[in-house]
């Protein structure tokens, strides 16, 4: 039975505009493009799941098709949900591990030195490539020792003393890989007289969705909605996240793809630069020292989809001394766990190729972007260091070297 509310594919007028702007269709002819894999094939799939075409697995869920669509068809959602609705569920060790960022992080942060050391060794890389189908060319993000949450516990008191507070969804990356970014969020918000509250959270679900663990993603989503809503209501605070993809999932993937009611957090939730920019506009701008560095800014796909890019740009423009080039909006190709899979690695790199060339031409000292996986991809594929906008802002505030 076709659910009547689920016929957004029927609004497709077959204009092919989405396929023009699809970075994957541009990179490989193996992917027939969002129109065909999404609304076109959806009709057939509804008739008979036997008509399922494997090629839709090439979709990275970057959402650029949805940005381009003049008819408001949720193209990427249609393709994503087909992945778990129609494909036979088979257990793949690799996908399981890639999807469980929190599980992996929880283990790795106990002995990060060992993990970081071993993962770079040739035999390990060879094993991962050969048996796990994780390409040996792929560089892994380093794990931190201990968790951000453990560090935060020691500083909770001082944060609770602020009159205005924000509930901070730190995400797996800050918790297990990059505590400094979490600390930078605190530095920046504190400088604006906002205390940072960290509450219970689980992985936002982005890697789970990408690897077909929808039930688990839903479970996490329900947990996060409840936990964030409770914490925000108690403290009367807004909710912020400094990961563009986590924010996107919390705000848009939950209702559109996971079909969950997130109205309890939807209006209160901001990607961090929107929260900061709104306060900047009202005159709450902290004192900043110049950050004399030439930077190229790359806008991540999911931030584009949320319409949040302008906030980041406006915030960066406020940093004195920062020589900023805005790169033409292009997908970097990694798409979370997509670029960690051997069968897609080449496509991922080809997707990013245009962006890498543009970065080269901009001749920056650093690249700035909002997304951690974009950071991994750009740091692996170009010679440049990549920093989060909040980190740059934090250095302007504390005057330390970027």
């Amino acid at each position: 039975m076709i659910k009547l509310e689920n016929i957004s594919f029927d609004h497709c007028i077959k204009c092919t505009v989405c396929t023009i702007y699809c970075p994957v269709a541009r990179a490989t002819h193996h992917f027939p493009g969002p129109k065909q894999s999404g609304p076109d094939m959806e009709r057939l799939r509804i008739k008979s799941p036997g008509l399922l075409d494997d090629s839709l697995k090439y979709c990275t869920n970057c959402k650029r098709c949805e940005i381009a669509c003049p008819s408001n068809v949720k193209i990427a959602d249609i393709i994503q949900s087909s992945k778990w609705r129609y494909f036979k569920k088979t257990f793949r060790m690799r996908d399981f591990f890639l999807a469980r960022t929190d599980l992996m992080g929880g283990v790795a942060t106990r002995a990060s030195f060992l993990v970081n050391f071993f993962i770079k060794l040739f035999p390990v890389k060879f094993f991962l490539d050969r048996f796990m189908k994780i390409p040996s060319e792929r560089r892994f993000p380093r794990y931190a020792q201990g968790t951000f949450r453990a560090w935060y516990k020691k500083h909770r008191k001082e944060q609770e003393e602020f009159a205005e507070k924000a509930v901070y969804f730190h995400g797996c990356y800050v918790n297990y890989n990059n505590h400094d970014l979490g600390k930078d969020v605190i530095t920046v918000l504190n400088a604006m007289n906002v205390g940072v509250i960290v509450t219970d959270e689980k992985c936002c679900g982005v890697p789970l969705i990408a690897n077909g663990y929808i039930d688990k993603a839903r479970k996490n989503a329900l947990f996060n909605i409840e936990s964030l809503a409770k914490s925000a209501t108690e403290s009367g605070a807004r909710i912020v996240s400094a990961s563009s993809s986590c924010s996107f999932a919390l705000k848009h993937e939950y209702p559109n793809l996971l079909e969950l009611d997130n109205s309890a957090i939807f209006d209160g939730l901001d990607y961090i630069t929107r929260f900061i920019h709104e306060r900047f506009e009202k005159g709450n701008v902290p004192a900043m020292k110049p950050v004399p560095i030439r930077a190229a800014y790359h806008s991540p796909c999911h931030l584009e989809r949320m319409g949040g890019v302008m906030n980041t740009i406006e915030v960066l423009k406020k940093i004195p001394g920062l020589d900023l080039t805005i790169l033409h909006s292009e997908c970097c190709g990694i798409a979370g766990t997509y670029g960690f899979k051997k069968e897609y690695y080449k496509v991922a790199q080809k997707v990013g190729d245009e962006l890498f060339k543009r970065i080269e031409r901009a001749k920056p000292e650093i690249v700035i972007t909002d997304c951690e996986t974009c950071k991994w991809q750009i740091e692996m594929s170009t010679p440049y260091r990549v920093e989060h906008p909040v980190t740059v802002l934090a250095r302007a505030i504390d005057g330390k070297k970027l």
Partner: protein
Amino acid sequence: MRYDCIIIGGGLSGLTCGIRLAEKGARCAVISTGMSALHFSSGSIDLFGNEGEGKIVFRPFEFLEAFIGSNPLHPYARCGSSRVREALFYFRDQLDLEDIDLYNNDDANHFHVTTLGTLKPTFFSQRSVFNEKIRLAFEKKSKIAALNFEGYRDFYPELAVINLKRNVLFRNIEISSGKILYPDYGDPQRNPFEYRSIDIARIFDTERYLEDLAAQIRTAAGDAAFAAMPAFLGIINFKRHHQLLQQLTGLLIYEIPTLPPSILGMRIDNALKSRFAALGGVYIAGDTVRGGTIAGGRLESVLTENGGSSALYAGSFVLASGSFFSGGLVSDFSRVREPVFGLRVYSHAERSKWHAQEFFPRSGHPFLEFGVETDERFNPLTDDGQRVGNLYCTGALLPHYNPIREGSGGGVAVSTGYRAAELILAGNR
């Protein structure tokens, strides 16, 4: 968030308006639901092509002088013909800064050829569609070769040739048709029948295949002076590749816009966005304005789908959300409405009068003349009759003109967009 001006709709009209405002230092944001109708356009800018029932207008500005007097509600009349001219040439200058040459035929209309081989009068065209050399070669009745890529489904040169031969202008001109094979670029996975214009454009956005292509064109074109082909010259390096290919073949390479997506239209879209961004404009893509707060005859703020309850504020707003196709107008069973603010719409009460009996009537379909009723300053009225003084309606959203029958869509979009910008700037002074 606050801007000087928020423009709802990122098409030809909205971006022309945004460019003018941003150039004068206004902080502007354009909010667009998806890509604009330029992706479905010919990439030529029409001014006024047909009067009455299919009679061609040759000198549109001369025609407008008289036309405006007898059609006071027409958007051109509301702009005034000198302002229409100012707007169109301003538009051309802006595209020139983005490296697109728009040619006009000394103030007269010229024709561009459609995929079906019909002729459409238009005012500005890109160099690969019209220029002095093309005019000269045509006047000399030079032979034309209509060529297609083998397997490409959006152009049938044989059909185009039959239709062109029916036209009196082509009676004494020899036209042949021929085929070109795609270059072998090492990807056997895909059937050439699946290629759309954008796939071909991407192949030729790299220079690698131009020599091979030139050799094929020379063979297929025989002794013709023109090679007319579906628009394929890419979106980035098209100007250079057009020149190169003309040099390599010694022929005039003529591009025919195919639909959809239109390569020629996308070039304009690209250029306008790039110009707007260069002037500091903010382009918010993939978001939809859901409504706004109107109080005391002024629109204070708007709400968007992605923004949830946090509003966007501006001193002035422009509604350039297009007609039925782009969702600027919506038709229900019994009425036509404007979905964002519920503005007062001009239409017929009786549904059976919305359209003509034939699919392609010479008199045009009445529904194309529906739209948001405005005063001479393009300010609309709310449903309860309240004038909204800081909201300007432009482009295909406007009533009392018929873009298809008149061949006037591009000109109205550009001139009303420009006019709205001027009114906003004058109001701020």
